[in-house]
Symmetry: C2
Subunit: 229 residues, 2 copies
């Protein structure tokens, strides 16, 4: 996949993975080839199956049929259904997405929040990531894979905070991971817990909330810890 500046955060990869074309174009970390194509085909089948059937309905047999890869190969290389799911999510995380770079922290955080809202309110874009979030309720290994996926995603977003500090927009030493998580948290609450609508107004408010809290020092790393960094 090529870098896509408009790619919504925290969901776009799974959406792309769900598309029928194998994601073996230049730009993926693992170059193309038969193994990479197999892995991408399996990932597409796993995510597509999750969307279609949910985790309780998914099976290795289904993945074999949809991917065209023989099930003995699937069992040998991935072990079981959970292994397939974990690898699908690992692969979905191997893209070149970068967070928004608008020139200001306010703009970056609002853009990040709006991307998240836009992804999860677009039925096609939301299907695969939502299915993975649901699967994590039923599989400990899916939950572990989801944790790793988001950890890496939020680590990429921390550059937003570093740039703001460098620009002297933020005269603080915030925990960047806590700050960027805060930006999207009211949106995820509404999307998956309280099941309320989200849109640009909610996205901007969430971003502004995180920034106001950062400016007030809520995310500051305590001096003792900061000294050790």
């Amino acid at each position: 996949m090529e870098r896509d500046e408009t790619a919504p955060a925290l969901g776009r990869n799974a959406q792309q993975a769900d598309a029928p074309s194998p994601a073996t174009a230049p730009g993926t970390r693992r170059p193309g080839g038969r193994t990479a194509r197999t892995r991408a085909a399996v990932r597409d089948a796993v995510l597509g199956g999750l969307v279609e059937l949910g985790y309780p309905g998914l099976s290795v047999e289904y993945v074999a049929e949809r991917s065209g890869i023989h099930r003995t190969t699937l069992y040998r290389r991935w072990g079981n259904l959970e292994g397939l799911l974990v690898d699908a999510l690992d692969l979905a995380g191997e893209d070149s997405w970068t967070p928004p770079d608008t020139g200001s922290i306010e703009g970056d955080l609002r853009a990040l929040a709006r991307m998240t809202a836009a992804t999860f309110t677009d039925a096609a874009a939301a299907a695969a990531p939502t299915a993975v979030i649901a699967a994590a309720f039923q599989s400990e290994r899916a939950a572990d894979a989801l944790r790793a996926f988001y950890e890496e995603r939020f680590a990429r977003c921390e550059v937003i905070v570093a740039r703001a500090v460098a620009r002297r927009e933020l005269d603080r030493n915030p925990d960047a991971g806590a700050l960027v998580r805060a930006v999207v948290s009211p949106l995820f609450l509404k999307l998956f817990i309280t099941r309320e609508p989200v849109g640009e107004q909610q996205a901007d408010q969430a971003a502004d909330m995180a920034l106001a809290a950062a400016r007030a020092g809520v995310f500051d790393i305590p001096p003792t810890s900061a000294g050790a960094v």
Copy 2:
């Protein structure tokens, strides 16, 4: 149920509902009697079944067996499995829980956040509410019931903000619903999306974030809307 000042927010009712004893003690809105006992027994069976089997494994037959209520009665009164689930959640919301009242908005919001963290990190307390949150991924009616449950829960929490305004702790006109949702949102993100640990430190930070944002005016109701209130 009697009022319980230590009851964790947003989960305690479901936990109580999951206990084997029918929740027909004084204090419930619908007084005891055969109908109320039946309804409570059905709710306990539904929530217990969700915890044990998840939504995909739950059936009217299971609820009949676990509750001791004949399945023809269940079909007649609740229609189907979704009807059972919706009513179980409605009943779980009919308690006398009130939000913390510590004397300060900072204390109230921190206590609310800590309650939420404590509920969902206690396996027994978390089981039923977590199962309902998971079920909402698979049932539109469960999602609707969950939305109604949390809407009512957060409406109860708005008194925290009203008290703070009355005490002149908050010289603002915030959207109380947005503020109290913000308090718990980083916790729900970590619990159910990024699958990261939560504890008192995360709870306090979430509460402080919401309060700092409120003081900065992020949740202020625009003057035009405020004038209409």
